[in-house]
Amino acid sequence: MENQNINEIYQSAMDEIGESSTSEKLQELKIKFLAKKSVLMSLLSTLGSLPPEERKEMGQKLNEVKAKIASAIEEKENQLRKEELEKKLKSETIDISLPSKRVELGGQNPFYVVKDEITDIFLNMGFEVADGPEVETDLYNFELLNIPKDHPARDMQDTFYISDSVLLRTHTSPVQAHTMQAAEGKPIRIICPGKTYRRDDDDATHSHQFAQIEGLVIDKDINIGHLKATLELFAKKMFGEKREIRLRPSYFPFTEPSVEVDITCANCNGKGCSMCKGTGYIEILGGGMVHPNVLKMNGYDPDVYSGFAFGIGIERVAILRYGIDDIRKFYQNDIRFLRQYRKKA
């Protein structure tokens, strides 16, 4: 009779738990079936009236049912909680294609990208970075570089003058003289990036302001082979491993012999195209062995020391590398231009 009653209670509890779909409902069921005043518990209180052998059996049975109901409720509770969380999370779904909250990296005038990159290439080769003034004296810009007054080579560089003896430097080469004088006869390995000025009307290919990177190495037993190898390494790092260089004789008053350095055209790999005017090569820089007069004037004995020097046009390298069609673009600072460039990690 009571056994049957217990089974009925158990069955109805399990049915109701199974049907319930909210945690509130489960709370009600806890009270209904497990609270002190529930039917099940009231049965417990009647145990005392049973004969001892039945009491034990019935007590065990009641406790078993109570535990089963409690665990069924807990299980259901967990299930409901999980479902609710899943529902909540689902409702929180975002459009991951919306714009991010990052700080966009600034664009960098390609001038600086190239300047920093060339600088880093030479830093890695053990060069140091020297510096010199943009407003220079005639002495440093010309005379100490073996370009005396009225030397025809002065006509190669139309100069902005501030006074008879002060001018805007026409090349970064005066830094050679400054560096040699400061080094007091010790070996030198420097580059110097910097702005330079020439009295040219601005157009697509000319600019009254432009920039160079000067290089200077002085030591015992330096020869053109060292210049060639150094620039080869530079060209490969800057323009790609496949690039080859070629030296052509040229003339600068402060180097002897002087060379123009061409690299194989990146556009056609040296086969010849419109970019290199069919020659397969593009001129990128000038250099040579430091003229003995320059060494002498700046405190080095040319019988003991020799050196090489070179000058690279920063804008020229950027123009070649990025296909920039007008040198004035560097100085306009249109952000649509700037934001196309930044130094790559």
Binding site: I224, P249, Y331
Partner: protein
């Protein structure tokens, strides 16, 4: 320098070499060939003879011609005014390809035309080589022109290629065709044949030559009597044309021809017009000079002038006088071949704006020891082409001794310089090919005699260049220099500057590059940091660029304006650059922020204001490890309407103003067309930051005891600054206030006019547990002092 292959091959064997191969050889020997151009072009040409010339029935200027082409006679309609019966002409037959297009059979106003009579212009000859008649009409060939000849360009001497040589400043000797021939001969190991002439003297001249200035070291002259001026021979006209010079008459052409071949400019005087039979170089005249071009020029001391009886007869090396100019009535002449100081010629010709083929040769440098040979060459030509029969002796003034330059060289030293392994034989043979005298001293050393025309070779390094440019740089072994290992890399200063730039880029600012030269007016605008005297150019190209700037900001504002005008309205721009004034040289940073902040969620907008810029400045200090106690912001004041007077500040570091920042003044905004947007600017002198010393941070112990936070809300007058409030709190902190931060400022409803509400968070702590009493006592003291010192009213 234009070099005709046809002319060149008269002096050097070019068999089997194409113009392109010659150009390439020259280029890789250091003489860059900028262009290989043909003088003229045209296919299917023939020399014709006009048999009949009738007026076109339906035109007032066209002619209908019957032209004998040798094999046949064709009818051609021709519009040239000089077409006439009997003329020998160039005919482009049907199918001929000319620079202007192909010739097709046509019907012109009802009359059939089977070809075209050509001018040289139509064959592509540059008009600068042609006279007026030649450009207006068809070319008139000589009467003996062979009718039916199909190699018309060959007949005209136009089957030629012209190399355009870029002569660098060290090789003025190559402004001579003879020397180019020697060079080509050396490059290709070819035989060179430079003719020499001598015209014996028929009488002794009474001409006196001399120089009273060291600017003229050599002066040679010869008197020639009974010349006749007329047209030059065809070969000379063609040679001149191929090298870019127009033919004038025999005497002028001989002067030019000799100069182009030898590099030595000549001058001719009409002897009968000279006041005295003397030609003396001087440099002390101060007179007006009427030149050949009939213009008057001011001659000043230091100009080289050739005088006769102390009267200026020629501006040495630049231009002759009208007074003694050779014209078609001239009978007797003096020829001059002199050496002038290049620098003086340069000054004179650039001052007077008179530059010519001859002045530019003197400027670049001429061979001082060939004058008599050159005069003999010119004499020979005059004898041949001017009917001149009587030649005097050559009189010469020479103040410098002819000295052969000798250099002692060593094969080993040359190889050491070049990074090559040439042997003695290779080295010496190159020099011999280049006309250097070479004498071996021992296995390694040798003596070199430099030819007089090579002005550029003065030392062994120059000899090494001669060797390498002929043997080729392919022989140079590429070897990286082995140098001592040392700590290279950027200096502290350089790496700090790099870090500042990189941090700004990482914050989204774009890095700009602007010009250093500004107009005088603009150089004073937004020059917020100094009034130092700037450098001005003596010779600016335009007013826009005549002052070397001492600040960046103006240029950067221009860049901002440029972008805003192109609908890019949110900008964060910066530039670092070196500034120079007469008294200083400083690295500067400028920043311009325009429109809405880029450093936000892209879907929200926040206009830039003062505090964005202040944050940028504080970040820079922090980046360099400079604590905020070491610098401060003070209010900025200025008479100029550049910055908003209430929203601007100076940056003070080490007791010096090193920067100014602020929002733009409304009137300044208007000037840059930025009225409708927010604009915040900064100009900062980075020198002290880059050079500043930063000590190593010793670890501060971290307290084991928790700190306590209390918030205060005050109402103070609007003028009371946050820093004043913080200062009071920190000063009265009883040693337990660790920090105080403003977290809210409010003005408006609920707060009376002229006041603001300020909320502050105070952090307290000590080595031990804070008691309630300690906290309350401290807060009370702070409140009391705030009320007393900044008139603060506590809000509950």
């Amino acid at each position: 320098m234009l070099v005709s292959i046809n002319e060149l091959k008269k002096y050097v064997n070019l068999d089997g070499l194409t113009p392109e191969e010659i150009a390439n050889g020259l280029t890789f020997a250091g003489i860059e060939v900028e262009e290989v151009a043909s003088l003229a072009s045209g296919t299917n040409l023939v020399i014709g003879h006009i048999l009949e010339c009738e007026a076109h029935p339906d035109s007032d200027h066209l002619h209908v011609l019957k032209v004998d082409l040798g094999k046949e006679v064709k009818q051609i309609v021709c519009g040239a005014p000089n077409a006439r019966k009997g003329l020998k002409v160039i005919v482009a037959q049907i199918g001929a390809k000319l620079p202007g297009g192909e010739i097709k059979p046509s019907v012109i106003r009802g009359v059939e035309s089977q070809g075209m009579c050509c001018s040289l212009l139509e064959l592509g000859v540059d008009s600068k080589y042609l006279n007026e008649e030649q450009t207006k009409g068809i070319e008139e060939l000589p009467n003996d022109a062979p009718v039916g000849e199909e190699n018309v360009l060959g007949y005209l001497g136009l089957d030629d290629a012209v190399l355009n040589l870029k002569i660098l400043a060290n090789r003025p000797d190559l402004l001579s065709l003879y020397n180019v021939a020697k060079e080509v001969g050396a490059i290709f190991s070819r035989e060179v044949n430079i003719p020499s002439f001598e015209v014996k003297d028929d009488f002794k001249t009474d001409l006196v030559v001399g120089s009273e200035t060291n600017r003229c070291t050599q002066f040679s002259g010869r008197e020639i009597r009974n010349i006749v001026t007329k047209e030059s021979p065809k070969y000379m006209q063609e040679a001149l044309r191929s090298m870019g010079v127009r033919s004038i008459n025999n005497i002028v052409d001989i002067g030019n021809y000799v100069m182009l071949l030898t590099g030595q400019p000549l001058h001719m005087y009409d002897m009968d017009k000279l006041p005295k039979h003397e030609l003396i170089a001087r440099d002390d005249l101060d007179v007006d000079f009427v030149a050949l071009d009939e213009k008057t020029y001011k001659v000043i001391p230091q100009d080289i002038v050739i005088t006769s009886n102390k009267k200026a007869m020629c501006l040495g090396g630049v231009m002759g006088s009208l007074e003694c100019a050779v014209d078609n009535k001239t009978k007797n002449i003096y020829i001059e071949a002199a050496s002038f100081d290049g620098a003086s010629i340069r000054h004179t010709s650039s001052r007077l704006g008179l530059a010519s083929e001859s002045s530019s040769r003197f400027v670049k440098g001429t061979n001082h020891f060939q004058a008599e040979d050159v005069i003999n060459f010119a004499s020979y030509l005059i004898k041949e082409h001017c009917e001149g029969k009587e030649f005097s002796n050559i009189v010469t003034y020479q103040s410098e001794e002819k000295k052969v330059k000798k250099l002692n060289c060593s094969v080993k030293r040359i190889n050491n310089r070049l990074g090559t392994e040439f042997n003695e034989e290779q080295t010496l043979s190159v020099l011999k090919r280049l006309h250097f005298g070479v004498k071996s001293i021992n296995k390694d050393e040798f003596e070199v005699e430099v030819p007089t025309f090579r002005l550029d070779v003065t030392c062994e390094a120059d000899i090494s260049e001669e060797v390498i440019r002929l043997l080729g740089f392919d022989n140079v072994k590429s070897v990286l220099p082995t140098l001592d290992v040392k700590v290279g890399g950027l200096t502290l200063r350089q790496s700090r500057l790099r870090k500042i730039r990189e941090s700004l880029l990482n914050k989204g600012l774009d890095e700009c590059l602007t010009y250093s030269l500004l107009s005088k007016d603009n150089s004073t605008k937004f020059n917020l940091l100094n009034d130092e005297e700037h450098y001005s150019l003596l010779n600016p190209l335009t007013d826009e660029r005549e002052v070397f700037r001492t600040h960046i900001l103006y240029s950067l504002l221009e860049a901002a304006s440029y972008n805003v005008n192109r609908q890019n309205k949110d900008l964060a721009l910066f530039e670092t650059a070196n500034m120079m004034s007469k008294s200083s040289r400083n690295e500067h940073l400028a920043v311009v922020l325009v429109g809405n902040s880029l450093n936000r969620d892209l879907m929200s907008k926040e206009p830039y204001d003062f505090f964005h810029m202040k944050g940028i400045v504080e970040n820079i200090f922090a980046l360099l490890g400079i604590e905020n106690s070491r610098y401060r912001f003070d209010r900025y004041s200025s008479d100029k309407e550049e910055l908003h007077p209430g929203k601007s500040a100076t940056i003070v570091f080490q007791n010096q103003v090193i920067g100014v920042l602020g929002e733009l003044h409304p009137n300044a905004k208007k000037e840059f067309g930025l009225s409708k947007t927010s604009v915040v600017v900064l100009e900062m002198n980075l020198e002290q930051l880059l050079e500043s010393k930063v000590s190593i941070t010793k670890m501060a112990p971290i307290s084991r005891f928790p700190s306590v936070n209390r918030d205060l809300a005050l109402v103070v007058a609007k003028e009371v600054s946050a820093s004043d409030i913080i200062k009071v709190i920190k000063k009265n902190g009883n040693g337990i206030v660790k920090d105080a931060k403003i977290f809210d400022v409010y003005e408006g409803e609920g707060i009376f006019h002229g006041a603001k509400s300020v909320a502050i968070s105070i952090t307290m702590g000590k080595e031990g547990t804070l008691t309630d009493k300690e906290i309350t006592d401290t807060l009370d003291k702070i409140k009391f002092e705030l009320a007393k010192q900044v008139n603060a009213e506590l809000r509950m």
